[in-house]
């Protein structure tokens, strides 16, 4: 298993054992965002802002380095900023799988394989991802650095199963070909297709359109 995946269920999450960037500082944009967030909490309760601040870190990293993750040094930064012990930030950052505590590819493919998605064909989605990206195991990053594949539990969108989450966007009703098309497009550097159902489903209505409450309004 590659040493790069720390926080995605591979069991090696609890000890920090990777070289971090040497510096981290919030950009002006992030700073502006932080001011807005901190204003929501009463004085002395700044620690409550730890989740949004970690998100800011991850988004800034995505923007600046093309890899959305939270380096240890940035966690220390957040701890210092919120006047809380660093370990309390490590606990939060490693608890939530949405924070990557090790570098990921440009696109983070999070494939739901929980029962509903699995019944609806997530195996095909996984296979398509592997074929297009060349990634073998979980938590690995493709040779071109574009993709990291993670297996995730239910994303809460089972009605449109199977789901492939790319970064923060849900692609729904996936199958092998739509998965390939999506990833190929990303590979070519094209703008990714609109997130949502790949079969034209309206929100979470039944396939082919609404089946109840179709009568005209009285």
């Amino acid at each position: 298993m590659s040493g790069s995946a720390e926080n995605i269920g591979d069991g090696s999450t609890a000890t920090h054992n990777r070289v971090d960037p040497e510096h981290f500082a919030f950009t002006a944009d992030s700073e502006a965002e932080i001011v807005k967030i901190l204003a929501k909490y009463p004085a002395g309760r700044e620690a409550s802002a730890v989740l949004p601040l970690l998100y800011i870190v991850q988004e800034q990293m995505r923007h600046d380095t093309g890899s959305a993750w939270v380096p240890r040094i940035a966690m220390d930064f957040v701890a210092h900023r919120l006047e809380m012990p660093p370990i309390r930030v490590y606990e939060v950052a490693t608890f939530y799988l949405m924070f990557n505590t090790s570098p990921v590819g440009r696109y983070h493919l999070q494939i739901c394989t929980t029962t509903p998605c699995w019944l609806r064909g997530s195996d095909a989605v996984v296979a398509a991802c592997r074929r297009v990206t060349g990634i073998k195991g979980w938590h690995e990053t493709s040779a071109d650095g574009l993709f990291t594949m993670s297996e995730v539990e239910c994303l809460g969108a089972c009605v449109n199963a199977p789901i492939l989450q790319v970064d923060n966007d849900y692609y729904e009703d996936m199958d092998a070909s739509s998965t390939s098309r999506l990833l190929e497009a990303l590979k070519r550097g094209e703008a990714p297709p609109q997130p949502g159902s790949m079969i034209g489903r309206l929100t979470s209505a039944p396939e082919g359109g609404p089946m109840t409450l179709t009568a005209a309004e009285r």
Binding site: A14, R72, P85, P86, I87, F95
Partner: protein, 693 residues
């Protein structure tokens, strides 16, 4: 108070108690792992399940508050079944490696699995394995054994005040550790070994050495600082293998400082196990008779005024009594117990005691620390201040005059000048008025503030300040001296101080005497002793004192003798012999008694009861163990001859530079050396040049 029924017993407990506490009060033992009475409630192990009437399912009793009329069942089929289920879950991933686990025989999990465990496992899957963590030289980890009770995390965060441990990741992957690997920066880390209910955290220096049932236990008193922590000395054969804290709510709750716990390996190194006599500039082994003769011969021509004795920091009361009497038999009252040169006034007991008492910290509402770093000098007391600070949600005003930092609680640094004491009202008006408004304020003066030329003025100024802010009341004595040496208060009680017209420590070592008897005195630069002074060193370790000695008399360490110790509060306690001193070494008062016969001036006691009777005659407080409480009935302060002179405006230094190396036993301990090497700045400053040995 709330009344409730536990099985068939009615109990009454305070409102806000947990059901578990009520059950214990009713005499029911409730199995538990994560609950610890001195830590916050986590409620995560689920072992403490009980049935409560009208509740649909078993309830975790540690986290459930009592209510009037509640009916609790602790031993039903449902309860037993539920606990069995919990135990089975806990053991799914536990390695069951008891045969190679140091916790075996003293393990909560092992004990409770006898009652609730199954004889087989229903799980065939692989167990999860967790990498061990490095937590420093004292705490060994086998994290696969961890049941994630989080006691250690709560201890570090709440009691020790170093929030460095945490639970990272989640679910199956959750691990307890520091995430970024580093040694714990706590002087109380050994206590985590005690509170870990399984073998995940164990004694690193003592790994794989003994099984608990092989050890002989002796209850005694710690002598490595002036707190007087109760300890249990565990011995096998001729070796002390571990020292564990006793429990005394008035002193240590149930904690023990790392130095006091882990200096044990120093007890068998660098020991003086036979007498030595200097011949042609070199120490050579000798018999007791030769050693005594050498001293007696030298004493022959020396006038009484040129004989002196210094008592060290670890001495028991009996040996100091005997030495004082011996000196008196030779007509000398050149005595001193203050190697640090602290200016103490022994004319009244409350001038040198920690009068508010350690338990008094629990009700104090403002504290001023003057020239003391309690974290280094008395970690247990420091933890108590932190406890009070937490209980007041961090609102307890704590001020520091001196250079102490990082005390594990927020304190206001008022400056390091001793002159502040006399002018606090003008120079720190805010803090001064908070002290004035407090009902039970404390002024705590440390040895660093007293070991100065104007130490007398510091003492008087501190007293005056306590008086001004109203700390001296009939029921509350807010003037406190924080001592660092276990022997100091007893020595002062015995009057081991220069008699009228006699010379003090400085004068003695700087050539004022021809024969100097050092009773375990190692904490000063022995190069100061003049070349013509004949030095008798009586003690247990080959440290600075023995190196300079002309005659070495091998004594007993605190684990090897019955002895009286008086802690900084003035609490009289008896320590007990856990094993015999090595080789020819003997209990110290006996050595002095034996010498007195050789010298032709026999002391009038032959057994320890005789010495103790003599001590009680010298100072009646020593006749009874325990603590006598008192308020302040006499406002007149110490050192009155100084009149209006105030302490000068100069910086107060720090006497205890390194928590881990304050005495000859700890200096002989490789474990303490390692601790000192990696110690954080809060516990040990970068090494100061130490006098060559």
């Amino acid at each position: 108070m709330v009344k409730l029924r536990i099985d068939d017993t009615d109990v009454e407990v305070e409102a806000g108690s947990s059901v578990l506490q009520a059950c214990e009060k009713a005499g029911r033992e409730i199995p538990h792992f994560c609950y610890h009475e001195r830590l916050s409630v986590a409620g995560n192990c689920r072992m403490c399940l009980v049935e409560i009437e009208k509740a649909p399912k078993p309830i975790a009793s540690c986290a459930y508050p009592v209510a009037e009329g509640m009916v609790v069942r602790t031993d039903t089929q449902v309860v037993r079944q539920a606990r069995r289920g919990v135990m089975e879950f806990l053991l799914i991933n536990h390695p069951l490696d008891c045969p190679i686990c140091d916790q075996g025989g003293q393990c909560d999990l092992q004990d409770q699995s006898y009652a609730y465990g199954m004889d087989h496992s229903r799980y065939a899957e692989n167990k999860r394995a967790v990498k061990d963590k490095y937590l420093g030289p004292l705490v060994k980890t086998v994290m696969t054994r961890c049941i994630q009770c989080t006691r250690c995390i709560r201890f570090a965060t709440e009691i020790a005040g170093v929030p460095e441990l945490g639970a990272t990741a989640r679910g199956e992957n959750m691990e307890v550790g520091t995430y970024v690997e580093h040694a714990l920066t706590s002087e109380l880390s050994g206590n985590m070994i005690d509170i870990c209910p399984v073998g995940a955290l164990t004694n690193k220096p003592g790994a794989f050495v003994a099984r608990p049932w092989e050890l002989k236990h002796t209850e005694s008193v710690d002598a490595l600082d002036a707190v007087g922590t109760p300890i249990r000395v565990d011995v096998r054969g001729l070796e002390v293998l571990q020292i564990l804290p006793g429990v005394n709510d008035e002193i240590n709750d149930e904690w023990l400082g790392d130095k006091s716990r882990f200096s044990v390996d120093g007890l068998k190194r660098r020991r003086l196990d036979r007498p030595w006599v200097r011949q042609d500039g070199k120490l050579r082994p000798a018999s007791w008779q030769e050693a005594f003769n050498a001293i007696a011969a030298r004493l022959g021509g020396v006038p009484a005024a040129r004989i002196g004795a210094v008592a060290g920091d670890l001495c028991d009361g009996e040996s100091m009594m005997a030495l004082k009497d011996l000196m008196a038999a030779f007509g000398s009252s050149n005595l001193d117990c203050r190697q640090d040169g602290a200016k103490l006034d022994a004319s009244r007991r409350d001038f040198y005691l920690f009068n508010s008492t350690i338990a008094g910290l629990d009700v104090a509402d403002a504290i001023l620390l003057v020239g003391t770093n309690p974290r280094r000098e008395a970690p247990i007391l420091n933890a108590r201040i932190r406890k009070r600070w937490l209980a007041t949600s961090g609102r307890l005003p704590i001020g520091i005059i001196g250079s102490a930092t990082d005390l594990t609680y927020k304190a206001e640094n008022l400056g390091a000048n001793a002159g502040l004491l006399a002018s606090l009202g003008e120079r720190a008006p805010d803090f001064f008025s908070r002290m004035q408004d407090a009902e039970r304020p404390m002024v705590v003066v440390g040895q660093s503030a007293l070991a100065r030329d104007d130490g007398n003025s510091v003492l008087a100024d501190a007293w005056d300040l306590a008086k001004t802010i109203g700390a001296l009341q009939d029921e509350w004595h807010g003037f406190n001296v924080l001592h660092t040496a276990a022997s100091r208060v007893c020595a002062l009680d015995l009057g081991f101080m220069p008699g009228p017209g006699a010379i003090d420590f400085d004068a003695m070592v700087d050539g004022g005497v021809d024969l100097l008897w050092l009773l375990g005195a190692d904490e000063f630069d022995t190069r100061r002793i003049g070349p013509h002074t004949f030095v008798v060193y009586q003690g247990h370790h080959g440290d600075k004192g023995a190196a300079r000695a002309d005659v070495v008399l091998p004594g007993a360490a605190y684990t090897e003798k019955d002895g009286t110790y008086v802690n900084m509060e003035g609490r009289v306690q008896h320590g007990y012999r856990a094993l015999f001193a090595p080789g020819e070494a003997r209990e110290d008062w006996r050595i002095i008694r034996a010498f007195s016969s050789v010298a032709g001036r026999p002391l009038p006691y032959d057994d320890i009861d005789g010495v103790r009777a003599r001590m009680a005659a010298v100072n009646p407080v020593l006749g009874r163990t325990g603590l006598q409480r008192f308020g302040c009935s006499d406002l007149s302060g110490p050192c009155p001859q100084l009149g209006r002179e105030h302490a000068t405006d100069s910086q107060i230094g720090e006497l205890v530079a390194d928590y881990y190396l304050t005495n000859p036993i700890s200096r002989a301990s490789p474990t303490m050396a390692e601790c000192s090497r990696i110690a954080p700045a809060a516990l040990a400053q970068p090494a100061l040049p130490i006098a060559a040995e």
